[in-house]
Amino acid sequence: MSNATTVDTHALDSDKIAVRQPSRFSLAGRTIWTPLLLSLLLVAIAVITFMIGSRPFNQTVIDVFVRVILVVGLYVFIGNSGVMSFGHIAFTCLGAYAAAWLTINPAMKKISLPGLPEWLLATKLPYWQAAVLASLFAGVMALIFGRVLMRLSGIAASIATFAVLAMINAIYSNWESVTGATSSVVGIPIVRTIWPYMIAAVVAVFIAWAHAISRSGLALRAARDEPTAAAASGVDIPRERLVAFAVSGAIMGLGGALMAHSVGVVTPDTFYLGLTFTTLSMLVVGGMGSLSGGVIGVVLLSALIQALRWLEAGVPIGDSTFAIPKGLQEIALGIIMIVILALRPTGLMGNREVTLFRKKTK
């Protein structure tokens, strides 16, 4: 029986005390490999893409980076709090339109979006400044919505986040003079080089990591495991949830801004159920409970989607061409997701992070 020895309170091994670090706070040092390795993966993908130099492939990888940002944003709230949110894409929508407002040529804006305030009509910022502002705007809006939402918990909170998405979508689909309603807002400067997207994805990964190991993130993860015990330890759960909601809202906004710059066009329906489903399923397949799960979920599922598209287009085998029927892509993706979740209900990473060293437990 190991129990008898495990609580031997007198075994104060003296040399163990001697080498004891002036404790504090090994957390950052012990976990830094996770964001480093994930970033390395993203940089490697970017470099390979750059060397291949194919235009369509470049665009595909840009989409992957944008989705990495979005899924990492989802992870910050959903992963750490354990509360499912169906509404985060609303903040992506806010970020994308904010980026559009800040970067479209003033002459064009006056015609297409005449309802914007004068100062905004006259503004034309470089895309990266616009992305930072869009991200802040989305974060502040998340803070405002979150103040109301974070009092709720469980399924009530999830449904309320969905209501936020529906609300934002309704506003952006109807406010003709400011958002162009359901018609596309065009003229957003398109950024085709891959590096800004890679940098933003890496930044998102590091923000998510820093939040998760912060006191606030720690308290939130504790509350996810055992809410009563966390409250009894002095954790103010709604407050910590709100912090995560705002941080994740800002990351979603950043993703939205970059998404706008990757295609040059925004419509409200781009940021609705389709994107919500895609990003959530990437997070769930990768593993909701870990940052690595989010990133790896995006990369793997994107690769899978790409491979299926490629098969749909047809692959030459010898003299003949092998192609799967159109539409099989969605079906195959759905089946693969179900199989993964049946075999690994907590996702591919199963709440674990990628790291160089195994945790030392004696």
Partner: protein, 244 residues
């Protein structure tokens, strides 16, 4: 003035009254055992004191300050730390992370970093096994280790009073002995006040201190644990025999 004053508490779950008019007080450094059979209202009482369960009547004050309407986290900040029943460790966090949860409340105070570090060392000194397992996942600890971890976690908020719900639940007797030995040592070192819920009075008799016996939401017997717990009345009170 006493540290904790509980007066005439009533707790209801819908139409069911779980606790009907319980009063007691605790002085600094006291040990009070709340014992009684299943459904006596012991856990409800403890949860109400920690602010987790609302009360519909009576009052609770800590150090003369009323706890009415305070959230559990605020009560924890005032120095009353509860260890809920069933050893709820934060299973996906490491041992050290478990201990650091809740220390956010110190942030901003003078020298809080040093204080958290020294609190951490103090817990590790009390429970050396936790230092050994500091980077291990808390969910993988044995039952006894988890009990030590939740007590250690409660200590991190620097409480004056710890309220523990059934520390012996599901533990082998020799492990329970060790848990109690540590609790008594903590009381001696820190002048910690202990409020302990246990089903059986055996522990109370072994440990000493004061004891109340609850049944049907009321206190039916109280006094010195060794006297009450070994007296003739205890069985009748525990099982509810009426002899008049």
């Amino acid at each position: 003035m006493s540290l904790l004053d509980v007066s005439d508490i009533v707790i209801r779950y819908g139409r069911l009254t779980a606790v009907r008019g319980v009063s007691f007080s605790l002085n600094e450094g006291d040990i009070l055992f709340i014992t009684g059979p299943n459904g006596a209202g012991k856990s409800s009482l403890l949860r109400a004191i920690a602010g987790v369960t609302p009360i519909v009547g009576g009052s609770i004050s800590l150090d003369g300050k009323s706890l009415a309407g305070l959230a559990p986290e605020d009560i924890a900040r005032l120095g009353l730390s509860m260890v809920p029943e069933g050893r709820h460790v934060f299973g996906s966090l490491s041992v050290e992370e478990n201990l650091l949860v809740g220390t956010g409340m110190h942030v901003g105070k003078n020298g809080w970093r040093a204080r958290v570090a020294s609190d951490l060392e103090a817990v590790y000194d009390t429970f050396p096994i936790l230092r050994e397992r500091r980077n291990g996942q808390a969910g993988l600890l044995s039952g006894g280790q988890q009990q030590m971890l939740v007590i250690g976690r409660a200590l991190m908020t620097n409480p004056r009073l710890i309220a523990i719900d059934e520390p012996s639940l599901g533990l082998a007797p020799n492990i329970t002995d060790q848990v109690y030995e540590r609790l008594m040592a903590l009381r001696a070192q820190r002048g910690l006040t202990l409020l302990i819920v246990e089903q059986s009075s055996t522990r109370a008799v072994m440990t000493g201190g004061r004891m109340v016996l609850m049944r049907g939401g009321q206190i039916v017997l109280e006094g010195d644990a060794r006297e009450v717990g070994t007296g003739d009345q205890i069985q009748a009170a525990y099982f509810g025999y009426e002899d008049h």
